[in-house]
């Protein structure tokens, strides 16, 4: 759906994006992670033909960008950094106006598509109030509705859950997962790790403009070959497991083992009361921190 090859963008002396080869496949829910200022927005803008690359190539939906960007944009819905709307018009008027502005927005279906999009993002009940009076969360939802009006095949969303409350974040996540299961590919950028962790199937990590990691989240989070145990009798557990315990912290043990069922049986047989037992997986945070260098302390800090 989206591939870039050695994509580089320089603004003066600053290299905002360096040699990025992105690979977003059909059906992905792709999360592009990176701290503020790591080049996410510049990358997104290049995909949409707003910013021109210094070198490298981009292909979106099989067409070269920016050369044939006019062909692919009608099939893309985008939220680019903050949503924007004409503040003196109502949300509905804004969506109609934006739809009327570009090609392929059939007038006949406009009202239906606008209503559907508003319903999808939970704004079906909005009245004629101007956007000026909207809360940040409502604006964010309206921005997403604007991206959905054309019923796109590909969503490119830059920080789509900014400014939403926890319920709003979950609504949007459910919506994106639902759209994805209907065949829409979702590409989103975020600096919020829990968000990406809960939503995405593949991730890429940008660090100072370089793509330092790109993989399926599930394979990144494969079991590490360790099992985490919590027990009331850690002494006996350590004795029973004999050398397999790598680390002990009070009642919590890290044990080198692959099969939790087998380990559990062994402990129970030895009379160790097991409170909890789980495969150790690396958290997204650990994965990201491992591949990013200095400056990654900005992760998770809301903009």
């Amino acid at each position: 759906m989206i591939t870039t090859q050695n994509l580089t963008k320089r603004f003066g002396h600053v290299e905002a994006v360096r040699d990025v080869s992105l690979d977003v496949r059909e059906g992905d829910r792709y999360g592009l992670l990176g701290p503020n200022g790591s080049g996410k927005s510049t990358l997104v803008r290049m995909l949409l033909g707003l910013v021109y690359a210094t070198s490298g190539s981009i292909s979106v939906l099989g067409e070269p960008v920016p050369r044939h960007v006019g062909r692919v944009l009608p099939e893309i819905g985008a939220v680019i950094e903050e949503p924007a709307a004409y503040p003196h018009l109502s949300g509905r008027a804004n969506l109609r106006l934006l739809d009327a502005a570009g090609p392929h927005g059939a007038r006949r279906t406009r009202r239906r598509r606008v209503d559907d999009a508003l319903e999808q993002v939970g704004l079906a009940g909005i009245d004629r109030r101007p956007v000026r009076a909207y809360s940040l969360g409502m604006r964010q939802r309206l921005g997403l509705a604007a991206a959905l009006v054309r019923r796109p095949r590909l969503l490119i969303l830059d920080e789509p859950t900014n400014g939403l409350d926890p319920r709003g974040i979950r609504d949007i996540r459910d919506l994106l997962i639902g759209l994805n299961s209907d065949g829409v590919t979702v590409f989103l950028s975020s600096h919020l790790l829990p968000e990406v962790s809960a939503l995405c199937t593949r991730i890429g990590v940008l660090d100072s403009g370089k793509l330092v990691l790109q993989d399926r989240l599930a394979s990144l989070q494969e079991p590490t070959g360790r099992i985490l145990i919590s027990t009331d009798d850690p002494e006996r557990a350590v004795a029973t497991l004999d050398g397999l315990v790598e680390h002990r912290d009070g009642a919590d043990l890290v044990v080198r083992a692959d099969d939790p069922a087998e380990l559990n049986a062994r402990l129970v047989a030895a009379g160790v009361p097991v409170r909890s037992l789980a495969l150790q997986r690396r958290s997204l945070e650990e994965i990201v921190l491992e591949v990013t260098g200095a400056g990654s302390d900005q992760f998770g800090v809301p903009a």
């Binding site: 803008r45 707003l50 106006l97 934006l98």
Partner: protein, 300 residues
Amino acid sequence: MIAVELFKLVRRLRTWISIGLICALPLIVAIFIAVTHLAPPPGQGSAFLSAVLDEGQLYPAAALALVLPVFLPVAVAVVAGDSIAGEASAGTLRYLLARPVGRTKLLVAKLVAVITFAVLAVVAVTVTSYATGVLILGPSRAAAVGTTPGGLAPGSIAPGAGGAPTAGLQPGAAITSLSGTPLTTLQLIERVLGAMSFITVSMLGVAAIALFLSTLTDSAIGAALGSLAALVVSEILVTLNAASAVQPYLPTRYWLAWIDFFRDPILWRDIQRGFAIQAVYVVVFLAAAWANFATRDVTA
């Protein structure tokens, strides 16, 4: 896309407030003149103003002369300067372009909206000042004017005046041209329409400059002020003898040529040059705006 831009223009409060303010200036002037019966003497002050106490139907011409030097260009510069820069700073530009709206298309639609605004403003001034002239100025008061110091004696004219021209009433009450010949109502309408289109076209140079600056910056006010600064420079150079070499190419050089529509026969020379110079400014600055906008990174 043009329809979308026109919708945005008419749905915007600013459009109507600025047109209202432009129309208010001639109204205020008319009220002062009507109350005091003191019009500027012929050959002084704003064009046509000396005659309006005698002939209220001439007030549209006087009103256009009042708004032409400052009000109209300021309003046009604000609208044109806002066109791209305003969308950029509001963040809507990136969504329009991602819709997608072609950049060239957007620029053309913006220009059409600015021209529409100028036409609306000129028409509004003409219509409101005609009503003002007929209602509170005009022949019914001419008798009182005859004895008023500074008023225009009926029938006085300033044929082919070099400075601010005047028009007047001949005995018998037909409106006369600046050359002294009577004008029929049809002729007067034709000439007012001619002057209106010339004044609208005169605004296109400013509009094109402001539109170009609007593609350079994300600050709408910067673009508007930049184009106004260019106008001020031009208006100063036009009156400066030392700058006579460049005067024929200044955007405001032929701004007053619309007055020639009220001579008999119409003096076409400066009118044609006025149209031509505006066309040159539009072509040059629109090309520059296009060249810049089409290749520029949209980071706002």
